[in-house]
């Protein structure tokens, strides 16, 4: 019986992240539009876009290989699995222990690996430029993420997200290293999701584009799957920040239905706050030059390193 309810909770988590991901995107876009005094599309527009893409035929380049056709599903699967392993409404889900925070980072790395390869498969200059820049950003964003994981893991004594959330709930305290890790994680999240100031998700045909350049040759259902994966990634980072730095409302392991429902409501509220802050940040800053991005990400890496050093020197910082 316990097994079935655990399995149900895990399945609920997978469906929850999948169904909320486009909503978060739509909400962020809507907020951004309102902040710019535009009306903006409905917050359900991403769902409609996905359905539309799904129904369209795929136009494949003549020399696209099997890798190009299977990459969307692999990217989506790796991102979905990673998103399903971050506690959103409850901790201690059935498969939480199968992967810790380092594994989640690496799963996103796998998704990026395939995306960058897919960008190079057709052999166009735009795809190559996108892949090249994505890998440059990743070569700084991923170590920064690992250093932030170190900070959090050294405080909580665990790399398991459930344990970390539990620790954060039971030891509410103010530390310097928390602040460093939070700022670093936000920078990494912005870069990894290709948001302003690193990349502009709303443009095509701009020399600075990164993510959009890699997926330029995709169309139809393949594009839909990739778009859904990138929406999932945004949701993953927001829920990761929420899980580590604002774990309130998370249902503990073995909670009853009411606890879980409360957790889900709290999660939606956190997503709304996260989406709003992201929109606010995006409208108040400008896109930076590509070669300024390494400085931006280098700051995150240094913050992570500083936090780790502080914790190596003293446990209480």
């Amino acid at each position: 019986m316990a097994l079935i309810s655990d399995l149900a909770a895990q399945a609920a988590q997978m469906i929850l992240v999948l169904s909320l991901a486009p909503l978060l995107l739509g909400f962020t876009r809507k907020t951004k539009a309102r902040l710019l005094r535009r009306r903006g599309p409905s917050i359900f527009q991403p769902y409609r876009d996905l359905l539309r893409l799904m129904r369209k035929e795929v136009v494949l380049a003549d020399n696209a290989s099997w890798l190009f056709r299977s990459a969307p599903y692999l990217i989506f699967a790796a991102t979905w699995v990673a998103a399903a392993l971050v506690p959103t409404f409850a901790t201690g889900l059935m498969f939480n222990w199968s992967a810790d925070l380092i594994v989640i980072t690496a799963l996103l790395g796998s998704a990026r690996f395939f995306l960058a390869l897919a960008g190079m498969d057709v052999g166009t200059s735009f795809g190559g430029i996108g892949s090249s820049r994505e890998m440059m950003f990743a070569s700084l964003a991923e170590p920064a993420m690992i250093m932030i994981v170190f900070v959090v893991a050294l405080i909580a004594g665990s790399t398991q997200l459930s344990e970390i959330a539990f620790h954060m709930l039971s030891h509410i305290e103010l530390r310097v290293s928390y602040g460093l890790a939070l700022i670093g994680l936000v920078i990494v999240a912005i870069a990894e999701n290709g948001r302003i100031p690193v990349d502009n998700p709303a443009t095509h045909l701009e020399l600075t584009m990164v993510h959009e350049a890699m997926v330029l040759e995709y169309s139809g259902r393949h594009l839909a799957v990739i778009e859904l994966a990138s929406a999932l990634k945004l949701l993953l980072y927001v829920s990761l920040i929420a899980c580590i730095f604002a774990p309130w409302g998370l249902a503990p392991h073995g909670a009853d239905f009411r606890g879980m429902a409360f957790g889900a409501v709290a999660f939606v509220a956190k997503l709304a706050v996260g989406g709003f802050l992201l929109a606010l940040f995006e409208v108040s800053t400008a896109k930076m030059r590509v070669f300024r991005v390494p400085d931006f990400l280098g700051a995150a890496l240094m913050l992570g390193l500083l936090g780790t050093l502080l914790l190596f020197v003293s446990r209480s910082l």
């Binding site: 369209k56 136009v59 699967a77 796998s110 498969d121 735009f126 190559g128 440059m136 070569s139």
Partner: protein, 668 residues
């Protein structure tokens, strides 16, 4: 029993080398010799993995120096490395049955290949300094002969010369290390060295430095790595695979054998040079790999990176062991040996793939490849698997060992020494950076060589490689996947060695339900590669099914869109050097001085504009050029001695004699 079988097989390998000379003119020699090597390697592999008692097996043979003989011993560490070496050896032999057919002068390779295998095996079994050094030198020289197989190429001759210099230098360092270890009594068997009283701190420090020089130069530790990216690519690909995937591991074995076993209980500061050099090696290796356009050179630099990771893990193990922290020491040691195993698998596979590409197209330069996924689909598939594994992506094996290293780093705040507390986070950053850069490096290598459109006619007309090579590559890929999905089995295999050398062990992983791995405690960290794999397959299938069920199934082929401006010329694709440009520009100047220069003719001038990249190796310019200059200067000065009169020569002899007598008189 296992040891006897192992020694007999090594003798048989040496016999095969002799047979190769006898068969030099036969057409079938290639198949016969590689077939024999495959068989003997498999026998050696089985001898290494069959269950034995806890006690080490020993044998003494009346070979070598009279009255001393040669001692051989097989303990858990030797057996572990023996399994790795012979797995790699068997795979390389199987691959070479097919690949060797491309060889124009097989008689330059065939006698040395079995001898090289035998040499590596003998190093692992040697139980006295004399046999160890002889086997080590035998391994170096036979691999040198293989590097020189294509000696018509001036580049290869230079590579062979530098390799020979560095190898003799390394052996000299090891010789002196053993001299110090044996002490004044002169017991050169490992048992005597183990029992001897451990000398003062400066003496063990000196031995450590010499071992880092000796084993480090063979493994490719910066700054002794310079021969490796020259020599590994110069050899035929199956030999490159052995040198990069396997021989570097023999060097690691030498380091572990001396530092963890013979040198006695470690002191904490031993870990500091090991950690620092390891971190620098990892960073420099992967940064250099990222800018290479020669596929085999790229792989050789990536080997340097992995050696760095292994040395970092060994350094952590030393630090923990010196502080009596048995469990973390065992974790770091396990991570190191696991990575040794993993790297031997995927690096051999990558070199085989590079060899297959070279055989099919005659090209090693990725800038002249492209689109091979269409013409060599199977090779492309296995190469992709190896790229995923080496980039430490779950659920393959490379990720597991890197994950274990990270877990070991996370345990290091409890180290009491301040110097280590400050050093380990920096090493952690270097590890994380090199892991991320590695993914970029292999996206570039795979994307430029295998994806896109063919950049040359040779790449366009490439044919799939032969079934022997494919079977060797597929076997290695299967092992990579298995080691990633069932890491608990590997960790339990390493446990006895960890118990013996660092005095602790991680919890037995075989008992943990669902085959996950829990290196310390479940509340701390756990990983289940199998479940992650099943999860990914499940999610991908669900997504594909739903899309197939509810979405459109229509597909139309058309020209690439490319924002409306597609250009049919393959030269408009992104090249390898343009792919590496952002990394060259942001991080490149850490490792090397890279300058882009543009030669733009003034208006009216009809010559073409040129864009060039100038790369200077800081290690070469900073260390080796001054040494070379010094050697040249001394040679010039000593050259005068060639033109003395007979009186002056006699005077020199007289002065030397007086000097020696004085030394004897003053010496206590």
């Amino acid at each position: 029993m296992s040891l006897t079988v192992a020694l007999l097989s090594i003798a048989a390998l040496l016999g095969a080398a002799g047979l190769a000379i006898a068969l030099a003119r036969s057409v079938e020699a290639t198949r016969i010799i590689y077939g024999l090597c495959f068989g003997f390697s498999l026998i050696l592999f089985v001898a290494a993995v069959v269950p034995r008692g806890a006690a080490a097996l020993t044998a003494a043979l009346p070979l070598g120096l009279p009255w001393i003989g040669a001692h051989f011993r097989m303990d858990v560490l030797s057996a572990f490395f023996l399994a790795i070496v012979n797995l790699g050896g068997a795979a390389a032999s199987l691959y070479a049955i097919g690949y060797g057919a491309h060889e124009k002068h097989p008689s330059r390779i065939l006698p040395f290949f079995p001898a090289f295998l035998a040499g590596m095996n003998l190093v692992l079994l040697a139980d006295d300094a004399f046999s160890f050094l002889v086997a080590w030198e035998f391994m170096s020289l036979s691999s040198w002969a293989l590097v020189m197989a294509h000696h018509h190429d001036a580049e290869n001759r230079r590579a062979g010369f530098i390799y020979l210099l560095m190898a003799s230098f390394g052996t000299l360092a090891l010789l002196m290390a053993f001299g110090l270890l044996a002490g004044s009594v002169g017991g050169y068997s490992f048992a005597d060295i183990r029992d001897a009283a451990h000398g003062p701190s400066w003496k063990s420090g000196l031995v450590l430095a010499l071992v880092l020089l000796g084993a480090g130069s063979k493994a490719g530790l910066v700054p002794l790595h310079i021969w490796l990216p020259l020599a590994h690519p110069a050899a035929p690909s199956h030999v490159s695979a052995l040198m990069s995937g396997v021989m570097t591991k023999v060097a690691i074995y030498g380091f572990i054998r001396i530092v963890f076993d013979l040198l006695g209980p470690p002191e904490f500061w031993w870990s500091m040079p090991t950690l620092t050099l390891g971190a620098i090696t990892a960073m420099l290796g992967i940064l250099s790999a990222t800018i290479q356009s020669d596929l085999k050179k790229l792989l050789a630099y990536s080997t340097i990176e992995n050696i760095g990771i292994i040395f970092v893990a060994l350094g952590l193990a030393l630090a923990f062991k010196a502080n009596g922290m048995a469990l973390p020491a065992a974790l770091a040691f396990t991570a190191a040996l696991f990575h040794v195993f993993n790297h031997s698998l995927f690096k051999s596979l990558l070199f085989f793939g590079a060899g297959a590409v070279q055989g099919a197209t005659g090209e090693r330069d990725i800038e002249r490849l492209g689109g091979l996924i269409h013409s060599m689909p199977r090779t492309a598939f296995v190469f992709l698997g190896a790229c995923l594994a080496i980039s430490a992506l779950p659920p393959l094996n490379g990720f597991v060992s890197e994950w274990l290293v990270f877990q070991a780093v996370l345990l290091s705040p409890s180290l009491p020494q301040w110097s280590l507390k400050l050093l380990v986070p920096a090493v952690g950053v270097a590890l994380a950076l090199s892991a991320a850069l590695c993914a970029g490096c292999f996206v570039r290598a795979y994307g430029v060589a295998f994806l896109g459109r063919a950049r040359s006619i040779a790449a366009k007309d490439a044919r799939e490689t032969d079934p022997w090579s494919l079977s060797a590559m597929s076997g290695l890929l299967a092992l990579c996947l298995l080691a990633g999905l069932f890491p608990s089995y590997m960790i339990d295999t390493i446990t006895p060695a960890a118990k013996l050398f660092v005095g602790g062990h991680v919890p037995t992983q075989g008992d943990i339900p669902w085959m996950s791995i829990v290196p310390i405690a479940e509340s701390r960290s756990s990983y289940n590669g199998l479940l992650v794999f099943v999860f990914i397959i499940f999610s991908a299938s669900v997504a594909a099914l739903i899309v197939r069920r509810f979405g459109s199934k229509a597909i139309r082929r058309g020209p690439a869109w490319d924002c409306g401006y597609p250009d049919p010329s393959p030269a408009t694709q992104y090249t390898g050097s343009s792919f590496a440009q952002p990394i060259r520009r942001t991080l490149g100047n850490v490792a090397f001085v890279a300058r882009d220069h543009l030669d733009m003719p003034p208006p009216g001038d009809t010559r073409p504009a040129r864009f060039g990249i100038e790369v200077h190796d800081r290690v070469w310019d900073g260390i080796y050029t001054p040494i070379l200059r010094g050697v040249e200067f001394c040679a010039d000065q000593l050259n005068r001695m060639n033109y003395l009169t007979i009186q002056e020569y006699l005077g020199l002899v007289f002065i030397a004699l007086v000097g020696l007598l004085l030394v004897i008189a003053i010496w206590p």
